[in-house]
């Protein structure tokens, strides 16, 4: 189920970069990002609305590769 308040967009390039994905999983305090065994990124949709807008994911990934979308704006 997608978020009611928050959506997250990750560029294809970042989503396929195992190192970036590992970093995303590490920094997110509410477990929105998970690295599958294959190294690929999976977004945990049920945690999207828990996003605390800390921007750590955007800092961890290459510039403009992660976008947090506030669905209420």
């Amino acid at each position: 189920m997608p978020g009611l308040f928050i959506d997250v967009k990750v560029s294809d390039k970042a989503a396929k970069d195992a190192a970036v994905v590992a970093k995303l999983e590490e920094v997110c305090p509410v477990d929105i990002f998970v690295q599958e065994e294959s190294g690929a990124l999976r977004i945990v949709e049920e945690n999207l609305d828990e996003c605390v807008l800390c921007d750590l994911c955007m800092s961890a990934a290459p510039s403009n590769s992660v976008e947090i979308v506030k669905l209420y704006e």
Binding site: L4, F5, D49, E50, L53, K70, Y72, E73
Partner: protein, 401 residues
């Protein structure tokens, strides 16, 4: 958490307070044996957590062990204040010359503990304070400074007690203060504390209430007194609604969203923050509202936790609207709570704009929260609207519906 009288006395005994001979009986035969051991007339007292034992006939005297056994059978079945007796305390009957009252509790207004003493014990202290105020002293003391017997002595002397009585009462009352502080009590009370005809001073009846949050800290004491962790000692067993509220709170370590108490009103409450729950609950009632529940939310709970609490409150039959109100928040985020309650409404199949009568949570991230509320057309206000007025707005909507 209230202690039974025999548990209170066991605690007092550990600290050397003077007590009469006694024993806790769980059968008529046992009552007879205890009376025989004491070897003098006894008093039998039903062990319940409510007052009014004497009026209910659950306190009686016996001159012989056989009579004690007979009285055990008479008073054990008596229901006092809706409670069955846990056991019967059999205690030596004491020839009383004078009764006193000593109690230590918290003064919420002064934010200090207060020692209350009276030379007119044995009756309701509020009644004495009203009718004989010169016989009651109230002495506040600090928990930061050393507690000395002087505090007790001055409190006792303030009621006109002097001489040998003052000297004998002082260490007893001083120990009561020590017990109050040592075990995180909310009440330590002796009523009556008596002077016997032979000049001895004895604790005849006592009550102790421990802060429920302090149970873990005093687990060893409670275990030694035989108070199990399963004993809630609440006025009534928790309802299904309250049990589910506790489950919501336990489901996630982040923040608090639970501690619900069920009431029979129709306005659901999501309330909290720095004493806000009690204040807001009272505000709703004083505005003529009928709360469906009490609850506590704070410490920045997750969206899911706030959502689940909202769903729980809205699951109560007859609850169509909720008021989401808090004191000014600092670590709890307005936007996170806003997301939770709106989501809770939607997952309950309700329109947030119709269901949330008022959202009044000012503080951290409020601008972000207000954007969310505006998007979902929820009526909200900031700190320029008092908690009392916010409650009034919610109640007005209930009455208009």
């Amino acid at each position: 958490m209230r202690f039974y009288e025999y548990e209170s006395k066991a605690l007092f005994a550990r600290h050397g307070l003077p007590l009469g001979q006694s024993g806790v009986a769980d059968s008529a035969v046992h009552a007879r044996d205890i009376a025989h051991r004491i070897g003098s007339p006894v008093v039998l007292k039903s062990q319940v957590l409510s007052g009014g034992r004497m009026k209910a006939g659950a306190v009686k005297f016996a001159d012989t062990p056989d009579e004690a056994a007979q009285i055990y059978d008479e008073i054990f079945p008596i229901i006092v204040g809706g409670q069955k007796a846990r056991s019967i305390l059999v205690e030596e009957k004491s020839p009383i010359a004078q009764e006193y009252y000593a109690g230590v509790t918290w003064d919420g207004r002064r934010k200090l503990p207060v020692l209350i003493f009276s030379d007119m014990g044995g009756i309701d202290i509020e009644e004495v304070a009203e009718q004989h105020p010169d016989h009651v002293s109230k002495t506040h003391f600090s928990t930061l400074l050393p507690v000395t017997p002087r505090i007790a002595k001055e409190a006792i002397a303030a009621t006109g007690v002097t001489g040998a009585a003052l000297n004998k009462l002082t260490p007893i009352v001083s120990k009561l203060i020590d017990i109050f502080l040592a075990y995180d009590l909310t009440l330590a009370e002796i009523n009556p504390l008596v002077r016997l005809e032979d000049g001895r001073f004895v604790v005849l009846d006592g009550h102790v209430d421990m802060e429920a949050e302090a149970r873990d800290q005093h687990a060893k004491l409670l275990a030694e007194l035989g108070i199990g962790p399963e004993e809630t000692r609440q006025a009534r067993p928790p309802t299904d609604f309250e049990i589910r509220g506790a489950e919501v709170d336990a489901s996630d370590h982040r923040g608090v969203a639970g501690n619900v108490v069920e009431f029979d009103g129709d306005l659901g409450l999501i309330i909290g923050a720095g004493g806000g729950s009690l204040t807001l609950f009272d505000a709703v009632r004083s505005q003529g509202g009928r709360p469906a529940n009490y609850c506590e939310i704070g410490g920045n709970p997750s969206v899911k936790k706030a959502c689940e609490l909202t769903k729980l409150v809205l699951s109560k039959p007859g609850v169509e609207k909720i008021a989401v109100m808090m004191n000014v928040v600092s670590n709890t985020r307005v936007d996170i709570v806003a997301r939770g309650v709106i989501k809770g409404c939607i997952e309950s199949g309700k329109d947030p704009s119709e269901t949330i009568a008022i959202f009044r949570i000012p503080g951290a991230w409020e601008e972000e929260g207000f954007k969310i509320l505006a998007k979902h057309k929820v009526d909200y206000c900031d700190r320029s609207v008092s908690m009392y007025d916010a409650a009034g707005r919610a109640v007005a909507k209930m009455k208009a519906a």
